[in-house]
Symmetry: C2
Subunit: 392 residues, 2 copies
């Protein structure tokens, strides 16, 4: 029997962080060791806050630190990972940050188990094979329609048939200008391109504001409109979905456990559910992929971090041939690209798939970690509860 011996958090950060929608400007890596084996994961989370959630003193029985349900636990197989997930979500029920911390730990546990057994994670998850996905280049809208046109052309030249434009000015000005951005994006992509649009929750829960953008999206054949609203605004989603058909609505990145994704599938009328393994973990992502398949909702990963998170997100739906597109960050910061010794690359057909290699299939570049590491210390009541661990 092997137990979880250590869980180490590494807070990495670019020298400068801007107030833009780019999650690759920092990273929280998790390293788990058990019986001499190592596994790595990545949280899409505010690093300091997730570190605090792992080591915080207990507040009460259902507000325990995440670490209380992880360290020392048995880790012999997938059932152990399921048990750890249940225990963390139960004992840390009232600690709001929990899921964004557990996500990276869960990822590391799967990676560790895969390495120990010499199997890719997707096989441990029960998938028979790793099917090819069309990666979509995920990038911000340009500041004006001309920039958006140029960005569309650039990605097409770079070999991406599918491109997502998001955030930036979209939804912040008038509907006419937004329409010009959509027209420009379509022109840049060409008629046969897959055009995806991300509103980044800009309308919060205002259905009419979102509906004013539907005509341009339909005219220019967008495949989906993503995150018109914040995740819990289920009623707003449902109403918009009815008005938008055949254009489909996408959402779900705000979900940080299976049940939140389930309620979007059941009550929000979405056509695509977008799941970030860095926010809910591989285990819950896998459950969502299966649930979506049963309800004819397409599963797509949400990924804006390193290829550790990308690989982890691909594992959950690796075997689902019908879920055939995936998010592929193309504007990620150097930190995010340098964390791993290699990257998940497109094949000759421009497709990608979850690696056919043990665990998540990627090796960490320890020198890169040293370059970006942010020394951090937390002291409570005279005790040092966290101090950046040694890299070696």
């Amino acid at each position: 029997m092997a137990v979880i011996d250590t869980v180490d958090f590494f807070y990495l950060r670019m020298g400068e962080v801007e107030a833009i929608s780019d999650n690759s400007q920092d990273s929280l890596l998790v390293r788990v060791s058990s019986g001499g084996d190592l596994g790595w994961g990545e949280c899409d989370a505010a690093p300091l806050v997730s570190i605090a959630s792992f080591i915080a003193p207990m507040s009460h029985g259902f507000c325990q630190p995440v670490g209380a349900s992880v360290l020392g636990q048995r880790l012999d197989g997938p059932d152990d990972i399921a048990r750890i997930n249940r225990e963390v979500r139960g004992k840390s029920l009232d600690l709001l940050q929990t899921s964004h911390t557990l996500a990276g730990i869960d990822m590391a546990l799967w990676d560790l188990l895969g390495r120990r057994r010499g199997e890719p994670v997707w096989r441990l998850l029960g998938h028979g094979k790793s099917t090819a996905k069309t990666p979509y280049a995920s990038q911000l809208f340009g500041d004006d329609p001309q920039q958006t046109l140029a960005k569309g052309k650039a990605q097409r030249s770079a070999g991406f048939r599918a491109v997502k434009f998001g955030w930036g000015p979209y939804g912040r000005g008038d509907a006419a200008t937004d329409g010009e951005h959509i027209a420009a994006a379509r022109e840049g992509l060409g008629e046969d391109g897959i055009l995806l649009v991300d509103a980044g929750t800009v309308w919060v829960d205002d259905v009419d504001a979102a509906a004013a953008r539907l005509e341009a999206l339909t005219t220019h054949k967008a495949t989906w409109l993503e995150e018109p609203f914040i995740s819990p605004a289920l009623g707003a989603y449902k109403e918009l979905a009815a008005r938008a058909a055949p254009l489909r609505i996408a959402g779900g990145e705000g979900a940080h456990n299976f049940h939140m994704a389930q309620q979007m599938i059941d009550f929000a009328g979405i056509g695509y559910v977008q799941i970030d393994a860095g926010r809910m973990g591989v285990s819950d992502s896998r459950r969502v992929a299966d649930y979506a398949a049963q309800r004819d909702v397409r599963f797509v990963n949400h990924t804006f971090n390193s290829h550790i998170a990308l690989s982890a997100s691909l594992q959950a739906f690796a075997g689902h041939a019908q879920d055939d597109i995936c998010e592929f960050p193309v504007e990620a910061k150097p930190l995010s690209r340098e964390i791993t010794q290699s990257l998940i690359e497109r094949d000759a057909d421009g497709l990608i798939r979850a690696p056919d290699a043990p665990g998540l299939g990627l090796e960490i570049d320890m020198d890169a970690l040293a370059r970006y590491l942010v020394p951090t210390e937390i002291h409570v009541g005279g005790q040092t509860l966290y101090s950046t661990p040694q890299l070696t």
Copy 2:
């Protein structure tokens, strides 16, 4: 024009904290100052994690620290509090802990504004008066039915007509034993007592497990069954509610913003929505109270902390005469009772109401804070981002 000059967090803790369902074992108090005025609030949160969320370095534009949207903001009236809420929830969208931090700040902002204007918060919120509520004594089930019987009798003797039993062994053994607890609770309370039962999410999303307890609850005339499931399990709630009628289902303490409570009202079939101002703030609690009233769902506070949090929770529905019961913690730890110089007491009829006094109507006992204060420091990248502030 006044701006928010400082926001100070004070982490208080009992010498010993047990792994039981008692949120009063620690506390995170918030003190806000603006133009020479002070206001106080309390978060029902893991203190260290919420402190970290206030001062964490920015991760990206939508994962900014809570403090970035609070410090230096204009604070002249209720509209300013609404704007600050919107800004925090937008710029800290991807920082999961946010709501549990904002809640205490929002409370302090209302307290400050009320003190500055010499008005109780409920009046600033637009309520014409502060109506009387029947407080229910909120306590854990006994370890066995005999203990539960004794606890029921004790609260009845202490003058509580309404009593809630929760957590402890309930739902963790078989349905027959749970039924004996319910029978014992009813016997202890007497025929005319208001019996409330809290399952503390023990069945997660297992409808059949919950349904096996319905007969005993109906036989012994419980008013509600609370939190059979975790908050996002809307489908499970809905199915159980249909099977439980006329027994009503209560839930909502897991909601940490207006939209999460809204979706429980819209999609979970609950008869009572339970809102903790220490988790979503006074502002969003007020919105939920109004929304519930429109849909014939009864609003009840959830409170397991000091009377700062109790007063704040009462403000939101102070004017709603139809929402006539309220949670009143009776097993709170000394820390929780000593934070304020006075407590909200029952009147001759055994009823309580939101204080008719400026702000939240309570004064902080600074000596008590000194007794329970936990010195805390957070250092990131060579800078001290948090150090326990001076009490004076």
